[in-house]
Structures are given as structure tokens and as C-alpha cells.
Symmetry: C2
Subunit: 370 residues, 2 copies
């Protein structure tokens, strides 16, 4: 791996390419989310869909012309429509769902071809970041480090609670400050911890949440891929020589053969010289209706509810019912989500089980509402 010295005064963002991962097909926001309308296309918080907000957040730093979006064929049209500035051929429908490593590798070839010094900024499309200015500060520092030093950088999230649903990153000593942001060496990745362990992690101040946001030079990524995932690197090389994201039949034939593996497992847990930028950015992966409840503004009884609703002696409910008049009477702690063809009424404490209910509906053959 080549290390380049710092090049102060030069704006790394001139070389930055956004790689937005928008292929997810979660089920935890049923009935608002469907196979053809997953979480990243929902307005779960603030203005616009999560995907639109993701693109909006980096627009000032990375123009749409340097943005790539990876999604599925099923979602391609909607994703393209949601991001009007992004060239249509840069919204890529993966021929098969192969998790994140293959499409990031594919993007690396594309970026490298356009700019030998190109930096990839990998961003999930279905998370919430409530402090976009802090996010951009962290991103600027991470981009500077990745560009100047040719290392891999994780933009990690300062944990605000002992969440057991997230992966954690253990930090080494702080290396330095860049643009006012602390940069650390990463000691290791850890899986979702049990609650007592998560508490210790958070109390120690030595852990960050892994929010799936990574930066590196395209050349660095491909070097690491050749070293740690040689089979994948070879196959991606064949696709790249045939045209990469525009390789048509070759892409359709070879892509499904790539190993289905996340970039975390494939590379991040292995690469040397992994650095982390620690950011307090109001991040949430919005993992369930309960998380969406926590994020949204509430009335004085703790209800998240539409304008045309009457909540009589009702507390702490999450109510989504577009275009409807809603009355609740003496109910508390519920998630109520109403759509034209399906209705969910759920204990908020059990919102994480919605995905299981969707699996059950699949077994029951209710395909028209999935």
C-alpha cells in the first residue's frame, strides 16, 4: 500500500465521489415500507425521504455528477427520480443483491477511471443524521485524511446510549486533530454487544458506533480488495474491463457470482492502517418504528401524530395515517400505521418484531401487501 504524504491546502473534496448504498429492502417499517418501497424511500423524519436527505447532506461538498447510487432493479426508477441531479447511468441496479462489498468494489473501478486520485465516500441511504453541519465537518476531516495518507477511514459515531443493535469500533490512541476533529487509530471491530458490555463500551469512551460510513482512495480500496478478497477482485476486474457499471450482459452474468459479503467483513476488519474520525452527528439507523418515534417531534402527551388526529387520554403513541382522520381513546405506547391496503397496531416496545410478522405474512402468501 502506497502512502502519500499530506498535501496541505489542497481540497480533498475536489476528488471526492459519493457512493450511496440504496439497495436495502427492509421490512421493519411495514406497512409503510414494501418490497418496492423500502425504508430509504420513506419520509420517517424531517423533510424528504431518507435517501433524499442523504444526497442533500453531501450536495455542497460533492456534486451530483460525482455521485453513484447502487440499488436494485426494482427500485432503480424511484431512486433515479428521487435524485434528479445524479446522471441516470450512475444510478446502478445491481443484477443481484450481493451485500455491500461487491458494489463498493464496482464503484471503485468507476471512480479510479474518472480520477486516479479519486476518494470514495461510502454512505448508507437509510440513516438519519440530525446534525448535518457536524457531519460535514467530520466528513471533511475524514476525506482529508483518506486523501492525504492513502488510508481507510471510518466515520464513526460517538455513542449516546448502550445500544445493543449496533456494531462498535474500538479506538486506539488519538492520532491527531484534523479540521478540529479527532482522528484515532482503530484497534478492532466488535459485533453487536449484549447490554452490560455495551454499557462498558459507552462508559469507557473508547468505542464508536459503526454507522457504515467509510472513506478511502479508490486505488486504496482496490489494493486492499486484491490482497484480502482476491477472487472478488479478479471478477470485478473482468467486469471493469467489459465496461464496469455499463457492462450490460457481462455485469448481469458475473455480478451474481460475486461473494455476498459486507464491506465490514470483507475488508474493514482486516485492513491495516484503519483510522476513525469520531463524530457527534445525531445519528440513528432508524431501526424500527420505535426509533422513528424517538426521533420525531411529539405533542405534550408524547404522541407523534398527524395534523388531523384527536388523541383523547392517549400517551406516547406513534401514529402514521396519511390523509386520514384518526381518533385514539385511552391508548398508550402504541405504533399505529395505516396505509390504503394494510394496518399495523403494535406495542411500541415490540416494534422490532414487525420484521418477523412480515416473514409470517410471506408464509401466508399475502404478497400483494408485502
Amino acid at each position: 500500500m502506497k502512502h502519500r504524504g499530506r498535501q496541505p491546502g489542497r481540497d480533498a473534496f475536489c476528488h471526492a465521489y459519493a457512493v450511496i448504498l440504496a439497495g436495502g429492502s427492509g421490512t421493519r417499517f411495514w406497512p409503510l415500507s414494501r418490497q418496492k418501497h423500502p425504508k430509504q424511500l420513506l419520509k420517517l423524519f424531517g423533510d424528504g425521504t431518507l435517501l433524499e436527505q442523504t444526497a442533500q447532506r453531501v450536495r455542497d461538498l460533492i456534486p451530483p455528477e460525482r455521485t453513484y447510487v447502487f440499488t436494485s432493479e426494482r427500485l432503480r426508477q424511484d431512486v433515479t427520480r428521487a435524485l434528479p441531479g445524479v446522471p441516470a447511468d450512475q444510478v446502478v441496479a445491481e443484477p443481484a443483491a450481493r451485500n455491500t462489498a461487491p458494489c463498493i468494489g464496482l464503484a471503485a473501478h468507476e471512480v479510479l477511471q474518472r480520477d486516479p486520485e479519486g476518494i470514495m465516500v461510502v454512505l448508507p441511504s437509510d440513516h438519519v443524521i440530525r446534525k448535518p453541519a457536524a457531519f460535514r465537518r467530520a466528513l471533511r476531516a475524514a476525506c482529508q485524511v483518506a486523501f492525504a495518507e492513502g488510508v481507510s477511514v471510518i466515520l464513526g459515531v460517538k455513542p449516546t446510549s448502550p445500544h445493543t443493535g449496533y456494531g462498535y469500533v474500538r479506538l486506539g490512541r488519538p492520532e491527531r486533530r484534523v479540521h478540529g476533529v479527532d482522528v484515532y487509530r482503530v484497534e478492532r471491530f466488535t459485533e453487536k454487544p449484549a447490554y452490560p458490555l455495551a454499557r462498558r463500551y459507552v462508559a469507557s469512551g473508547r468505542y464508536l458506533w459503526n454507522g457504515g460510513m467509510f472513506l478511502w482512495r479508490a486505488s486504496t480500496l482496490l489494493e486492499n480488495l486484491r490482497r484480502f478478497q482476491p477472487a472478488m477482485a479478479r471478477c470485478l476486474g473482468r467486469i471493469a474491463r467489459a465496461g464496469g457499471i455499463r457492462a450490460g450482459d457481462v455485469l448481469a452474468r458475473l455480478y451474481p457470482r460475486l461473494e455476498k459479503i459486507s464491506i465490514d467483513y470483507a475488508l474493514m476488519e482486516r485492513v491495516p492502517n484503519l483510522l476513525a474520525v469520531a463524530a457527534d452527528i445525531g445519528w440513528s439507523d432508524v431501526g424500527s418504528w420505535s426509533a422513528a418515534y424517538e426521533l420525531n417531534p411529539k405533542d405534550r402527551d408524547g404522541n407523534v401524530r398527524p395534523a388531523r388526529s384527536l388523541c383523547v387520554q392517549s400517551q406516547d403513541n406513534m401514529i402514521v395515517a396519511p390523509g386520514k382522520a384518526v381518533v385514539t381513546l385511552g391508548v398508550s405506547g402504541l405504533v399505529i400505521v395505516d396505509t390504503p391496503d394494510a394496518l399495523l397496531v403494535c406495542d411500541r416496545e415490540r416494534a422490532q418484531e414487525v420484521g418477523k410478522a412480515v416473514e409470517e405474512m410471506q408464509r401466508l402468501g399475502w404478497h400483494d401487501v408485502l
Copy 2:
């Protein structure tokens, strides 16, 4: 009041006319019930709407040609459509809501004109009777008594619980049995009692619920009306001379001037020689979503729910969501009613407060969903 001797062997039903009261506009079944679609037009139990079931129950005894239905102009078309056998001009839109006494008096003139010996069988249209055969037995006895003896008869309901929402009728000694049914003298009507009193009533075995089902000769009713409600009787006489239910402008002008009063207050609490038939007919006035829950068949977790529903660890819910897929998860004791433009989620114990919520919506001006 003329008393005629019994005429055994003669079927009183040859002279029977059904007078179905279908003008109600309750709010307690919102959002399924609306101003233009009240309770009697809903399918809350069994097959068909409550109105259709009411007509169906007496069809074998009283043909549609001898059936009169009183409703509002707003509901007339739907009511006519629901009762195809009933001549359209016998579905009467009251020019104004005047409670039950005026329309019953109007019906009496109509019946008397067709049959000087005509018996009126007054029936609410929005109650449930789960034992129609027992109901018909009681009706036969009551009709026989009213016809043969020229008295007023209440078809009372044997109470099955100390319900505080019903009126009660205190019985005197049993007079006799007719067609195997006990006939009592009525001592007095009582208002809705408090719970301890209701318990004493039920334990005593001397009280019946007043289900609003009355029988008498049309001539007897009009005699009583002249005696106890002379002003109303005079006004109804003018309407009758102008054509009665077909009096058009005269009806429209005079009817709204009639006193707004129930037949209970106007007459039943005053007439001499009031008899009661005691009937165990599985009656309910279906006063709320909670009552509808009690009546309907449940799954093994106590849920009343549509075919396409998935109730995960959910008990004792009443779910109405026509045409929708419904998932509940960890919720119990709820009323959930979903319609294309409105949704109710309510603690089942508080279903009786739905009417108040509707009043609040009226204040808020949500007229399109009322």
C-alpha cells in the same frame, strides 16, 4: 277503551302491521357509522345489516306489504333499497326528527285506515336478537293478547345481567300463559338504574328490560293518544285527513310542530292495562363497539377479527378493517376500526366515549368524516 273478548282459533297476525323505527343517527359506531350511514345500516353481527335482520325476523309473520318503516330523508333511499319487498311509499321520511311517539301515531292512522282491527308491532331497527325463534314465539303471544283484549303489550326482555344502560319494567303477578309464554301485568317503568339497584332488579326476577318493542291495536293506540296526548292526537288527525304519510306539504308543515317525545314517556308509562310478555330472546341494543365485541365470534385469543389478519400475542381485540390486511403485535383489549377516510383505536373499556369524540370532531369541523 273497548275490550274485546278473546277469539280463539283466529290468527291475530292476519291483522298485524310491522312499524319499524329506522330514523336513528347514533354516533357510537364511528368511524363505521356516519350521519348518512347510522347503526341500523351496519353489519355489526351476523348476516346483513341490523335493519335487514329486523325485517327478516318478522317476514314469516308479517309480509312486507304490511310493513311501514320510519326514517329520515337522509336515509330514505338506503332504507328503501335495503328492504326491497316493502312498498316504497311505506318507507316514510319524517320531515323532522320528533322521537318515536309522533311517527307511531302517524302509523296508527295508516294502519287503521287499511284494517279497523289492525295490530301494530313496533320494532326498533338497530337491535340484535340472537334467538329469533324465541322472539317469534313471544311476538305471537303478544300479538294474540293485543288483538284479543285491546290492551297495550310490551315485548320485554328477560335481563341477563345488571345492565345500567337500559330501562327496566317492573312486573306484577303473572296473568296467564299464551302460546306457552308468560304474560304479566306491568306495574311501572323505571329509568336506567345505578348498578346496585340494577343488581336487585335482576335478582328479584320481577323486572324486564324495555327493548322498545310494543304491540297494540291501532285503534287502542289512537284512543290512548287522544286521552294522554290530546294536542298531538289533534295534529295527527289533521295530517291523517290530508293523506297521512302521503300528505306531502301538510305533513311537511305540521309534523315538525308535533312534540318531540318518545312513546315511552308519551304513553307507555301512563296507559292502563299495560301487559308484558317476558321473552328470553338473546337481545342486545348493541350500544357500543364493546357490545358488538361481546356479540361476535372470537378466535381462541378472544379477538374479533377479519379473515386477513395476523394477531401476534394480541388478546381480546375488536378489529374491523374491511378489505385490509391487519397486523397486531402485543396489543390487548382494543377496538380498532378502520375505514377509507378515518381510523379509531380505542380502549375497549372506553368504547362508550366514542360518541363524545364525535362531538369533539363536530366542534373541530371535521364534517367530511362525520
